[in-house]
């Protein structure tokens, strides 16, 4: 299916029941904005036409907006009008306005575009520094953000070195871009074409037996594939309804998810693993019981699925109608548009004993290759389901490249009808060359029959609360802090048992004299810089003396070995902090 046919089909799908509400957006004033298929078409087109006026059809239009009806409508409208929207991550909390904008310009160097649509305050600041027009879009309830970005920032010439406007070639057939990481660094904007999006949505629809009667409830951000594809595009394409509220509204008020599920008879929600633990832990705070029996699937996706997170959630909310058979798992990535595998609805997710895997002679904790350690100490692995129709998986020994036997862990490779073809970046469109068409995910797992079990990753990607964080981006950000030895920074992930997710650790060498006051000041500065640039607070920043970071024999910095040294020498010291924190929180 080409892009033109996709747009026509989308329009038809939206008009199937033109009076039915298909999209609900809870805005910053807690008002539920309701849109029928007809209204989505009209309003999204009008908004896109106004804000993209003058831009060349097929060009990349960046959207930098807080959660709002306008963000959703602009994304849909730009697709319908033949532009290629890309949703940039909006800051998760109050940020240092100047640092944020400098960092944004830095990131945009790697992302050629022809227009940026953002809130008025940012438009004022950025319009003279970008080589393409910046268009203002007023968004309901964004007063706080207007204030944060209200002061004029003087961005010097060095900061203006952003990439030139560059059109995306029409033959790419792009509908939109989606980022595979939390930031907009080079080579991470996956080009989503009509062909691969349709292939994904068609298979997801049949696997979930998804119909117009389904109702998705979500707090996931739109710059994440799980929010954008599973929670928005799947229902839009199927003519089903979806409701979206802001992640920041969910965090302190997690019970609001249950409230909307009950009110709109929700049938599906997608959540990263930590959310199951978080909801269970917040049981006392989520308010009155809700009827959750309408739910067909609570799908755990985007970070390793932990059995205990699912169990504790089912235990806590069983009386509200959460049945273990509705707790599902999925293995997905932006490079495959979304899902690769999905567990079977109506059945409990399969688990595989870690002891049994060891007994079969397979190493599950020290996977070949780099000798990477996987920290999970769970007793069982949770299945991620079977491949969607026409999607092939193979498990490969990373040392020899040979296929692994069943129940023997190795690297997960994919060959699927929805596999991406290229990234958009500073060099333009980079098509990816795969080996015989197979894509190496960098993830590590095994097959039991046709069920996939994911153990961890070979790649150094850190998954914090479902968001992919590239260590390179963290290292780059931390490296800009004064006093840090240039290039001597290492970032990696550690398991965060408290929140059932991962946390970021940053190690940086201090140049010159090492004293405690400088160490403390530099650590705080790195905390702030990483949070502003990446949007994630590191669990620990350790500033160390020169030559502390471990280099490989080739003289290259080794993340794996530095991580090992940190875990042995420093982690026990810093682990005292969360323990102390827990004691406080428990009122001890």
């Amino acid at each position: 299916m080409d892009a033109q046919s996709f747009r026509r089909q989308l329009e038809e799908n939206l008009l199937q029941s033109p009076e039915q509400v298909l999209l609900r957006i809870v805005d910053a004033h807690a008002t539920v904005v309701e849109l029928t298929g007809q209204q989505i078409l009209e309003q999204s087109r009008a908004l896109a036409a106004t804000h993209a006026e003058g831009a060349v059809t097929g060009s990349v239009v960046l959207l930098l907006l807080p959660h709002s009806a306008e963000l959703f409508l602009l994304h849909i409208g730009l697709v319908l009008q033949g532009y290629v929207p890309a949703i940039l991550a909006w800051p998760t909390s109050r940020v240092d306005a100047e640092k944020y904008q400098r960092n944004l310009l830095h990131q945009l160097r790697n992302l050629p575009a022809e227009r940026l649509i953002t809130i008025p305050a940012l438009t004022q600041n950025l319009s003279h520094t970008l080589p393409f027009p910046v268009e203002a879009c007023t968004v309901a309830g964004a007063e706080k953000w207007e204030e944060v970005f209200s002061s004029k920032v003087n961005l010097d010439d060095g900061e203006r070195m952003v990439s030139e406007a560059m059109p995306l070639p029409a033959e790419a057939g792009a509908l939109f871009l989606q980022f595979s990481g939390g930031t907009t660094g080079a080579q991470k904007a996956v080009v989503i074409t009509a062909e691969i999006l349709e292939a994904q949505l068609e298979r997801l629809t049949e696997t979930l037996a998804f119909t117009t009667q389904d109702s998705v409830v979500s707090w996931l951000p739109m710059y994440h594939d799980m929010g954008l594809i599973a929670c928005l595009w799947l229902p839009l394409w199927s003519g089903a309804s979806s409701l979206h509220f802001a992640a920041s509204d969910w965090l302190l008020n997690p019970g609001v998810l249950f409230e909307y599920i009950e009110r709109y008879q929700g049938t599906f929600t997608w959540l990263p693993n930590f959310a199951f633990s978080y909801l269970a832990a917040q049981f006392e705070r989520v308010g009155e019981p809700r009827l959750l029996g309408s739910m067909r699937g609570w799908i755990n996706c985007s970070e390793p699925v932990r059995s205990k997170s699912m169990d504790v959630f089912a235990d806590r909310y069983g009386a509200w109608g959460v049945v273990p058979e509705a707790l599902q798992a999925c293995y997905a990535m932006a490079e495959n548009v979304f899902a690769v595998t999905q567990t079977k609805l109506g059945e409990k997710v399969p688990v595989y004993s870690r002891t049994a895997l060891r007994a079969s002679g397979s190493q599950d904790t020290t996977a070949g290759g780099e000798g990477r350690q996987f920290d999970l100490t769970d007793e069982v692995y949770v299945g991620s389901g079977r491949p969607l129709r026409g999607m092939q998986l193979r498990i490969v020994d990373p040392k020899t490249g040979a296929a692994c036997a069943e129940r023997t862990p190795g690297e997960i490779h994919l060959l699927t009808p929805s596999l991406f073809n290229g990234y958009w970046g500073s060099g333009g469109l980079r098509t990816s060359a795969f080996q015989d068409g197979w894509y190496n995910t960098g993830d590590y797992g095994f097959m039991d029959g046709d069920e996939l079990f994911v153990i961890g990753r070979y790649k150094d990607v850190i998954i914090v609360a479902g968001q992919n964080i590239f260590p390179e981006d963290v290292e780059l950000a931390a490296g800009t802090v004064e006093g840090v030895y240039p290039g001597r920074v290492v970032a990696f992930g550690v398991v965060n048992e408290q929140h059932a997710t991962e946390s970021v650790i940053v190690i940086a060498e201090l140049r010159g004299e090492f004293d405690p006051a400088r160490k403390r000041a530099t650590e705080r500065q790195i905390y702030q810089t990483v949070l502003t640039s990446i949007g994630v607070a590191p669990r620990q920043v350790a500033v160390v003396p020169e030559r502390w970071i471990v280099k490989s024999t080739a003289g290259k910095i080794s993340r794996t070995e530095t991580r090992t040294r940190f875990m042995t020498e420093l982690f026990n010291q810093v682990a005292a902090k969360p323990a102390q924190r827990d004691a406080v929180l428990q009122g001890k």
Partner: protein
């Protein structure tokens, strides 16, 4: 409960809770969430500790992590919404 809640008492409680959470004392206008000193998933626990310390209820539905970004904001927030 809100009638008997005094700003000084709230400030003392907020300082105590934040200091224990962060590991050392911070200035009243030091940013906590946006500086990474407290991660956003832990804000809810900061709220729970405050509720316990002050014997009040803070209705989460109206709150954002930013409302607790400094000790000053925290005091304002508690005075505004505590029940």
């Amino acid at each position: 409960m809100i009638d008997s809640l005094e700003a000084d008492k709230v400030r003392a409680a907020a300082r105590k809770v934040v200091e224990k959470l962060v590991g050392y004392s911070v200035a009243d206008d030091d940013t906590l969430v946006s500086s990474g000193l407290i991660d956003s998933l832990s804000v809810v626990q900061l709220i729970a500790a405050l509720e316990k310390e002050l014997n009040v209820q803070l209705p989460a539905a109206t709150l954002q992590p930013d409302d607790f970004d400094t000790i000053d904001y925290t005091v304002e927030t508690v005075m505004r919404v505590a029940k």
